[in-house]
Each structure stands twice: as C-alpha cells, then as structure tokens.
C-alpha cells in the first residue's frame, strides 16, 4: 500500500531560536536565519528569542496558516527536549504534527563549541539545511492509539516499592508487587532507628507492610523474580518466576483441597529442622534453619525452605502435621501477567568494603559496617541490642566511625559518588551509643558532614552537643593491635594540620552503597538505561526524575540513585502517580514510526523476517505472490528491517530511506562547497 509518496510542492518555514544567549551567545542567529531564506523550498524564515514560549509557538502556527506551509523546521535545542512542544505548535497551525523537523543547534552546537562562533554558525547552517531537506519529504502520520491494561507492576518491595504499590492500588489500579526475597520491607526493616526523628524503623514500617499485605488491590508476589518482558507501554506481558518456597499459604492449601491447612506462621517446623545456616537478614551474625523466616515481622508471615541447604529429612513435614503446609517437592512456577505500566524499585546493596584493604574489614574482627552496627544496636538483633566487640564480646568505649568509606572515592576501587545517607546515619549511630553506653566516646572521621534535609543540620548540632568528637580527615589506614585487638586509626586531622593515630575499641565503616545485585539484569529486561555507576537512568535529571526513556516504566527509591527514606517515599509517590496516568487515561498514543512493506518492490525473499527482534514481520500470499507483511501492533519502529532489506522495499515511516538520503545529500552536496 505505501509507496514512495510524492509530496505536493514543499513549502517550508524555518524558525531559529536565540534561547536567550544560550544559542545566540556563540551562533549568529540572524545569519542562520538569512541563510535559511536562501534554501530551496523555504518560503519563510524567522528568528525569535524563545521559540518555545507562547509568542514563539504562535509564530509557527500563524506562518503555517498564512503561508500554507507543508513543513516546519525549528532550529533550537534538542528534539529530545522540545519536539513534543513544536509538534503541538505545528498541529495548532493546522498541519499534521509529523510535518515538523528539528535542528539541534544548542546541545550539539552552541553549548559544545562555545569559543568557536564562526564554526558554530557554519555548523548551524548545515543543520538547518539538513532539516529542511528532511522536512521537504515528511508526510502526514497518525499516531496509533492503544488501550492500556488497567493493572500495574512494582518490582522490589522495599519501602519505595511498597509505597508505590499502595498508592497505585489506592488509586483503584490492580497492582502486582514483585519481591525477590521471602518478605517485603527491604533494607529499612534491617534498621534500628531512623534519623533525624529517631523513630523506630520497624515501628513505622510494619504497619505499612501490613497495609500492603491486606490491600485487596495488591497482589503480593514474594520470593518471585522477573523472568521475561514483552510488549510496550499499555501492554507489558511480564513473565514471573515464583521460586519454589516449599511452603504453601492457607489460600494455596484451600486450592489444593486441604481444609484448614497452609502455613500459619507457627514455626513448629523450625524447632525440628536440623540444618543451621547464617541468617542473611542478620548479615550472617545470627543463625537460621533451612526452613526459616527472616524476622518475626515478615510479611507475608509464611515460612520458606532453603532448598540449597535442606537435607529433605522430612522432620518439618511431620511437625507441621495436619496443616500440610510443607511441600518438599515444590518446583519453580512461571506465570505471566499483563500490566499497563511498571515501577522499578530495586534498591541497593552495600559495597564490598573489604576491597578497601587499608581498613582491614574482614581481616580485623573489630572493624564492622554500619549495617552490621544497625543489627547489633537493635533490640531484636542478634545481641538483643547490646553493641559488642566481635573479638571478645566486650562493650566498646571508644568507637570510630569512618565516613565516606568507599564513597567519594576516586582511586578506582570505591565509588565516585556520595552515598548520601551515611553522614546522617553515622550521627544517629553516635547518638545511639551515647544513649546506651555510659562513658562512650564516638569519634567521627569525616570529609564533610552533609546534613542537607529538613531538621538534619539541627540534628548534627545536637549530636555535637551530646559529646561526639568530630575529626575532619579521611582515614588513611587502620591497624590492629594483634594482642588487644584494638584498632589504631591513622588519619590526618585536616583542621589541626597534623597526623593522628587514635586507638579505639571498635571501628564502624559507613560503607558506600551500589545498585542491588540483580538491578542490571532487571533493567535490561525492561529496556531501561543506567548511568555510568549502574544506578537506573531517569528520563531527565530535573524535569522527569521518576520516568525513564522507556515509555511506561518509572523509577522509585535508591535504584535511581542514593537517597534516604523520605526522598525514597517521595519519589515512589511520584512514580506511582506517573504510572497511573496512562492507566487512568485508558489509552496511549504510540509514535507512528512503523515499518511498511512497499509491495511492488518486495521480492518476497523473507530475509527481513529474522531481523525483527519482535517477530513483527511475516511472509503472506497476496494476489498470487509472496510478500512481507508487518503486524503494526508488534512493530516498535527500530528500523532494523528497513536497514536490511536488499530491495529497499521497506518504508520506515518518518525515517524513510529517501528522507535520510536527502539529509545526507543536503549536508554533503548542498551548501557552499
């Protein structure tokens, strides 16, 4: 059906933006505009201070109406920023919005050639010429509307994921909350108190966990991972792997016809299980059995069998008795759900700080991480809340806190970024030991104290007043006294300008954080980019911090970059709101960059069929010959088939071969040779 379409005689309008001095500072905008007037097909050219402003946009609409334009070119910032704006302006003037083409003379010109005005101006002229060439060949396109599945998915059940799921469900959207571990709660459930208010972490988190569990709009899928993702905004088909948990819920029991059965969380199985393993929730500082829960407040309160450790003795099955909750033959299950939008909230892990050899973590007994500290100071932790030295169980009297341990580290071993919450939680830790251990002195080795949040600076002063000692200096190394197991912290006190060697009983490393282990795999499944250090990449650092460049996928919490609980929750609410918009609208418009077969050119060779990663192409019989056919609903418009077809028989809408060749020719053959 599609053919190389002959446009009516092209009539192009060109609008060059000053962007204040952003563009005009290094590009001679008037000269570019004058030059545009000399180009073939250009009927009108104009310039304006801010093309994106209302008067700027009006200029476009007016020119279209007055000059009967067939195409519009704006030379300004990046199409990634303002293409939608100017498409709307084009539409307002009565022209199909896809008749618009943008020349990027800011991000890729004036800003990167700030000291070469002549060359920048020449480059801008070329860019306009290239854009006019394409605009002259653009055609009317109609975006495709697709219905949006009225369901959402949240991946990661930390405080961020929980908040997003609650908001979505409370907005009336069926929400799948997928968590890879046996319980929701994330890192926050490992914390004792939270700065700066010092409320108990579990006390404020547990009610939320219960809300999530009880919320009828949320389908809670713990011990579950994302296996595969297909589709696009509005219609994601997500395949999930429900890992074999070895224990069934009361609901599952009912489905199996076991009356009144299923796990009640009684824990009878634990008493009889003979296998002992370290509990990862307690960072290995406490034991658990092969059948276990992380801690008493888990949600859902369902036990899990660790099949890597289980010896299948069957004692637990016996102990469970009539409830028949334990199934040692259980296998992983795959399930597929359809959702319209997705929120990723996969959180973080602690950077393996033993890589910083100089601090001796894992070498010296009495060097611990802050997360271990949280467990040791927590009343429900392995020591019942008594902070002890691992080497001898004694109560430490001199405790050094090493901040920026592996953060803000440009040696190539640690992380270049600030982990953002370690300053604040170390202040909290100092407070906690002062409160609990009479006569203790916390020494805080810091580079800068970053207490940026609401009431944070006040908290900092409070801890100073409470008697914590602050030493500004990065710790060079830590040495263990082999006899006493005390530690010598060597640093330069940069305020006094002298080296110090301080003997302490315990060192707490405020270790850097990094994206959680499976973030990389998960982001690839959803086609989301990451920044250089692995944190998931937001669509725009300022204007779209919850979105991603993949339509329909949003970010919440630390997976996007280090942030504390208040910021995590705020972003989660933002992401939930963004994820609910397409669902509430009920349909989304897809950019109509589809492939089309030009049947008269198609030889029916079928070579393109394997090129398409989405299986959108197939050979069909038509009028007695074999031709290729595109299933538009599957085509995402990458153009891989179009770049391949040996006969040039695939027309890529908006990126058609004649359009691209016109751009190439315009640059190389047009202009002043």
């Amino acid at each position: 059906m599609a053919e190389v379409k002959k446009n009516e005689e092209p009539r192009i309008g060109v609008f060059v933006c000053h962007c204040g001095t952003n563009i005009a500072g290094s590009i001679d905008v008037k000269a570019v505009m004058e030059y545009a007037r000399t180009l073939p097909n250009v009927i009108v050219a104009d310039d304006y201070q801010y093309m994106c402003s209302t008067p700027g946009q009006n200029k476009i609409a007016e020119a279209i109406a007055e000059q009967k334009l067939t195409g519009v070119v704006v030379a300004a910032c990046s199409p990634r920023l303002h293409e939608p704006t100017f498409r709307n302006a084009t539409k307002a003037g009565g022209l199909n919005p896809f008749r618009f083409e943008m020349a990027n003379i800011r991000e890729q010109n004036s800003w990167v050639h700030m000291h070469q005005p002549e060359e920048a101006t020449a480059k801008a002229k070329d860019a306009v010429r290239i854009a006019v060439a394409k605009a002259s060949l653009l055609e009317d396109l109609v975006p495709k509307s697709v219905p949006v599945e009225k369901a959402a998915m949240v991946v990661g059940g930390g405080v961020g994921g929980m908040q997003a799921a609650l908001d979505l469900a409370n907005a009336g959207i069926k929400t799948y909350l997928v968590e890879k571990s046996p319980t929701i709660g994330g890192r926050m459930s490992q914390l004792d108190k939270t700065f700066p208010t010092l409320d108990c972490s579990q006390c404020i988190l547990t009610p939320k966990m219960v809300d999530v569990y009880r919320n009828e709009g949320i389908e809670l899928l713990t011990y579950t991972e994302v296996e595969a993702v297909e589709g696009y905004i509005g219609n994601f088909d997500v395949t999930l792997r429900k890992k074999a948990r070895g224990v069934i819920t009361p609901a599952e029991a009912e489905a199996r016809g076991i009356v009144g059965g299923g796990c009640t969380g009684c824990g009878d199985c634990v008493d009889v299980c003979p296998v002992i393993k370290p509990n990862p929730f307690e960072l290995g500082m406490a034991p658990r059995k092969a059948v276990y829960i992380y801690h008493p407040q888990v949600s859902p309160l369902i036990y899990t069998v660790d099949f890597d450790a289980c010896v299948k003795c069957g004692l637990c099955v016996e102990a469970c008795g009539e409830k028949k909750a334990i199934d040692l033959e259980m296998k992983d299950e795959l399930m597929t759900v359809k959702v319209g939008t997705v929120v990723l909230a996969t959180g973080y892990d602690i950077f393996p700080i033993e890589k910083k050899f100089e601090w001796g973590y894992k070498n010296y007994d009495n060097v611990i991480t802050s997360l271990e500290f949280e467990r040791l100071i927590c009343a429900s932790g392995p020591t019942g809340g008594h902070l002890i030295r691992p080497s001898d169980g004694a109560t430490p009297k001199r405790v050094a806190f090493v901040l920026c341990a592996g953060s803000r580290d440009n040696t190539g071993v640690g992380k270049p970024y600030c982990s953002r919450f370690c300053c604040m939680y170390s202040l909290k830790h100092a407070h906690q030991i002062i409160e609990k251990i009479p006569g203790v002195v916390p020494y805080i080795f810091y580079m800068d104290i970053r207490s940026f949040g609401k009431m944070y600076e006040e908290f900092y002063y409070r801890i100073q007043d409470e008697g914590a000692k602050f030493i500004r200096g990065r710790v060079a190394n830590i040495l263990e006294d082999p006899v006493t197991k005390n530690l010598h912290v060597n640093a330069e006190d940069t305020l006094l300008g002298r080296p110090i060697d301080m003997e302490v009983d315990l060192v707490v490393l405020a270790a850097a954080i990094e994206p959680s282990a499976e973030t990389e795999k998960t982001r690839r499944l959803f086609g989301v980019s990451c920044s250089q250090d692995g944190w998931l990449l937001e669509a725009h650092p300022k204007l779209n911090p919850c979105g991603t460049t993949t339509a329909g996928v949003y970010l919440a919490g630390v997976c996007q970059g280090p942030k504390d609980i208040p910021d995590t929750v705020a972003q989660a609410e933002g992401a939930a709101s963004a994820a609910s918009i397409p669902i509430h609208r009920g349909e989304v418009e897809l950019e109509p960059y589809f492939a089309q077969c030009m049947e008269e050119k198609c030889a029916g060779c079928g070579l393109c069929v394997n090129q398409c990663p989405y299986g959108a192409l197939a050979l069909v019989e038509k009028d007695g010959r074999t031709v290729m056919q595109v299933t538009e609903a599957k085509c995402k418009g990458c153009g891989t088939c179009g770049g391949f077809c040996p006969g040039g028989a695939i027309w890529m809408q908006h990126f058609a071969t004649p359009q691209i060749v016109a751009q190439i020719d315009a640059f190389l053959l047009g202009g002043e040779q």
Binding site: F357, G360, N363, G412, E480, P482, H488
Partner: protein, 300 residues
Amino acid sequence: MSKNKHQYAFFLGCIAPNRYPGIEAAAIRTSKNVGIDLLPLKGASCCPAPGAFGSIDLNVWYAMAARNVVLAEQMGMDIALVCNGCYKSIWEVNHKLKHNDELRDGVNEVLKEIDMEFKGSVDVWHLAELYYDPEIVGVKKIADSIKRPLTGARIAVHYGCHLMKPGKERHFGDTENPMWIEELVAALGAEPVQYRNKMQCCGAGGGVRGYDLAHALDITNEKMINMRDVGVDAVTEVCPFCQLQFDRGQIEIKEKFGAEYGIPVLHYNELLGLAQGMSPDELALDLHAIDVEPFLKKIL
C-alpha cells in the same frame, strides 16, 4: 615468547654481596633446590638505588636501570633478584619503559651511545614471588624441599615498601594486609606472627637512612617495639637493605636510645637455606650484627 620459566638472569645488587654474602649464596643454592637456575648477569651495575638516584636525577635512574635490563635481554632471560630496592628500580623502570613510548625513546637515545637498545622483551621478578607462584615453584614445593623444619620459631615478616607499592601498578593484590610471605614462612615449619603496623617502613628506604639517620632509627625503633611486644624469635624480610636497617639499626638504636631488642634478622633466603640444611657458616651468619646464635639454638 616461550621463555624458560626456570632459568633467570640473577641481578645481585650491591648490599647483598657487600654486607650479607650469605644471601647471595643462599639464593643460588635454595633456588636450585626448588628447580630454578640463577645465572650471573654479567656486567650489571648498581640497580641504581631508587631513593638516592631517583630523587636527584630520574633520567640517570632510568638509563642505568634500563642498561641492566638490556643485559638480560641480551641473554634472552627474565631477571630475578633478591632486594626490594633493586625491584623498585629494575621492575619499575622496565614497566615504565614498556608502557611509555616517549620515555623509552628518550632512554634509548642515551643507550645508543653504548650501542644498546631497550626492547622490552623481558620481565623482572623478585625471587620471593617466583617461590610463591604455584606455576613456577609454589608453597608446596618449598615445603617439600625442607630437611630441617624450623619448628617452634616465631617469626615476624617484614614486606618492605618498594616490593608492594605503589599497589596500583604492582600486581600483588592486597597491599595493606598481605599474607603470602607468611605462607612461605609457614612452609618452613615456622610460625609467622602478626604484629602491629606490619606494613610500616623499615626506616631506611627512600634515602632516609642516608639523609637523616636519627629519623630512620626512630621508625626502626617503633617497628622493633611492635615486634618485641608480640614476642618473636626472628624477623625475616626479602630485602638486604631492610635487613641492614633492622640488623645494624638495632646496634645504633642501642647507642642512641639505649633500647636493646636482640631480635635476629634473616633474609627469607637465609631462613630457607637453614631449613634446607645449609650450615650457618655457609650462610655467613656470623657477619650479622645481631647475634643469630640464640635463634639457631632454638631451631637446630
């Protein structure tokens, strides 16, 4: 490319042959017992000492070290050596010239005057790392070569700065808490003992001993205190200059601070020689400033 992994040009250095000839004798004998041939690197000069030369004229340091490397290139063999200072000079200059074309061209300009050219065809090894490398010797083979285990000896290990640092360039992994020489010591049947601030400098290197003896001794004294505190029978190292500093240094410390430690100081090759059955005479242990006799009594 297939160089013989068991034959090396032996770069002697200055301090070993002049002050502790036992180290030289031990190196040749002990390495032979574990299957390594050390052949003399004829015509070699001073490495030259990294602190003394390097801090005055880097170009002289590069050129002289490069000349030593070229001698080995002419033999078609990698270099093995027994001194951290030599390692710093020869390993590092070899490494730098291999990775920096500009520097290499400059050095070759100088070497041209004596009809030599640095090609970058050999590597440089400390004998101790060859001993540790399981593909060349390995701890097991060392243990198997022992005739007279040093049972009961508590030994402190000093690594020395120039061997392991700068850690970014070197290839030893953990430079803050290494344990591989301890493994080599344990292979002799002795007990390696941890002490505070193990990685601290001996006090001598980097020209400190030459420039400011009092300061150097201050550092050495601190190390001796830390070793004494955990009770050791001897200290071992892999560097004759560190050895000199601990050994003669204890005499000088006694004169300066009045403190006496009496901890014998033995190069790892000397220890290995003893364990393999070499006699104290063959190892010229009587040339040590601190009497080795009490240590020998304990192990023989």
